[in-house]
Amino acid sequence: MALIEVRGINKRYRMGDAEIGALNEVSLGIEKGEFVAIMGPSGSGKSTFMNIVGCLDKPTSGQYLLEGVDVGGLGRDELAEIRNKKLGFVFQGFNLLPRASALENVELPLLYNGLAAKERMKRSAEALVAVGLRGREKHHPNQLSGGQQQRVAIARALVNNAPIILADEPTGNLDTKTSAEIMELFVRLNVESNITVILVTHESGIAAYSKRIIRFLDGRVIGDASAATA
């Protein structure tokens, strides 16, 4: 059984009178422990695909099985619970709470599954150590560099022991050197902790860190190959 399996999903938006198909009959599977890069030009449907895989959005039609469970029939709060327990998000713009410290930002997912404050602190501090930010617990996002902020975001994705990390252009706002460091962190998490990483990028240099590349164009999958052959 695949960790993630989508079968014939479509996503259409209405814009005025016109109906725009963002995804057309996309079917694919991702196994546990894979490191997948999703590539394609803007408007190709890769972000829409990520939103659906991230349980932030629902397909217009088709089936999405996450660990064999059909997500399509779930309600708002059940999807929130899946995001909390199974998925970690890393965004291009970091999306940290500006007025909370690094530790409090990492703590956020734990806040919503009712853990006691002491346990939350402990696990958040451990997650910060895991991304190499020991001693930065009290720093606020504006006191951290872009790379450090993205590490906080990764720690937040890790803290609840989610098996999947979804990263949408995680290096888009970072310089080359910092990008490489962040990508090496993803690789390490993938190899050492067997975390499934799915990453959206349009830079082939970034995609090269992955083991498999899926290419999107006009809402369709046009290529799916291991990184070595792609």
């Binding site: 939103n51 991230g54 932030l56 959005d57 708002r76 709060d77 929130a80 619970e81 995001r83 909390n84 327990k85 998000f89 965004f91 999306n95 940290l96 709470l97 007025r99 909370a100 956020l108 997912p109 806040l111 919503y112 599954n113 009712g114 404050a117 937040r156 609840n160």
Partner: protein
């Protein structure tokens, strides 16, 4: 689900970020709660003052006045014709089942002398039942007896004002005073009553047996006549029955025919004062309602600020949703924020309201009474306002689309 202490912590931090805005929003509630408490204090104070006055006059009171004289078609007003007698008073006491006590009053103003001091006061000739009618306790000594009334004994009970003016620190009981140059023995002192509802000093009086007043002090050409009869009904419910029974009884005693008018008047004092008390209660309600409107306006202020806050923090809401915040996690966060604003406003409003009504009492001399109930009422009302006006913004926040919210700048 988020636990409540964490939710409170998040809300408090959000409020601290915009200190000025939070303070101004709270001000609306402070004014509202303060106004409710102060207004209720003024209204309650007025009602209590009226209640005290009713109690000081005596409860369930009826007054029987003699009739009006008619001279050449000109009616002269109640009390101008001496038609009531001691017998009428005794008959009311004996024959009206709804009456508890009836006491005759034959009074007049007289000069009173003790040693080198003298004082002009109201001398009231009555029976010992007067003390029961007026709920008037003795402070010291004893009241006069039925026997002393029958024998027209020269004994008297002094009111506090008279004691203050004639006896500076001397124990008056057993002393001899002169009323219109006639010696009277002081046998008791009345407790302090204070002002009557119309502002009379009720303590400026001396009570003596009614017969003594009739025969020795205020003799008229109508022997045995008295000026008024004070009646106490058995209960408030018995007031009307007592009034009816007295009218029938006196008409019978005065041989008044079916078509003739009464030669006396019965006045219901308690009823008049209860009407005044009712009016004070209506005023309290009115003042409270007006003040509640300002609390409501404060609540709208909270809603306004919360809506702004939700818009400003759309991205934060999106982040929270992405990491697993459920509908009620988001709602709770904003409701607690609104509730915190309104409860802080409530606490300061209580302080302002209590000290404000204290200041009114001290500076303007108004009777104010802050009741624990009004504080509890205003505080819980401010809480309800917070939840009510916080709910819509919270509801709006919880329905945001996480993808849209994350894209929000």
């Amino acid at each position: 689900m988020i636990n409540i202490p964490s939710a409170i912590k998040i809300s408090l931090r959000a409020l601290r970020v915009n200190k000025m805005r939070s303070a101004l929003t709270t001000l609306g509630i402070i004014i509202g709660v303060g106004a409710v408490i102060a207004m209720l204090a003024i209204g309650t104070g007025a009602s209590q003052k009226i209640e005290e006055q009713i109690a000081s006059v005596g409860s369930n009171l009826l007054i029987v006045l003699p009739g009006a004289t008619t001279a050449g078609g000109v009616r002269m007003g109640a009390g101008t014709q001496p038609t009531l007698s001691l017998g009428d008073s005794e008959a009311i006491q004996k024959d009206s089942p709804a009456v508890q006590y009836a006491a005759p009053v034959h009074n007049g103003v007289a000069q009173v002398v003790y040693g080198s001091q003298n004082w002009s006061t109201m001398v009231t000739g009555t029976t010992p039942d007067m003390l029961e009618v007026k709920d008037w306790p003795l402070e010291q000594g004893r009241s006069f007896t039925g026997e002393e009334v029958r024998s027209a004994a020269k004994v008297g009970l002094l009111g506090q004002t008279v004691v203050d003016n004639l006896f500076g620190g001397i124990d008056p009981v057993g002393q001899i005073i002169r009323i219109k140059n006639i010696p009277f023995t002081v046998i008791g002192v009345l407790g302090r009553k204070g002002q009557s509802p119309i502002g009379q000093d009720q303590d400026d009086t001396i009570m003596i047996p009614v017969t003594t007043a009739q025969k020795k002090l205020f003799g008229t050409s109508f022997p045995g006549m008295i000026r008024i009869i004070m009646v106490k009904a058995k209960s408030t419910e018995d007031l009307y029955a007592a009034e009816k029974q007295i009218v029938e009884l006196i008409r019978q005693r005065h041989h008044i025919g079916q078509k003739q008018e009464d030669d006396f008047t019965v006045r219901n004092l308690t009823q008049m004062m209860q009407a005044a008390e009712e009016a004070a209660k209506v005023m309290t309600l009115l003042l409270g309602t007006i003040a509640s409107v300002s609390l409501l306006v404060g609540g709208i202020g909270i809603m306004n600020i919360m809506l702004v806050s939700v818009t400003e923090r759309t991205r934060e809401i999106g982040i929270r949703m992405a990491v697993g915040a459920k509908t009620w996690d988001i709602r709770l966060q904003f409701i607690i924020e609104a509730l915190t604003l309104s409860l802080i406003g409530g606490i300061f409003g209580i302080v302002i309201g209590v000290s404000g009504s204290g200041a009114l009492a001290a500076l303007a001399g108004w009777a104010t009474a802050v009741s624990a109930l009004s504080i509890a009422l205003a505080f819980s009302f401010s809480g309800i306002v917070g939840i009510f006006f916080g709910f819509y913004p919270a509801y709006k926040a919880s329905l945001l689309d996480p993808i849209e919210a994350l894209r929000h700048e």
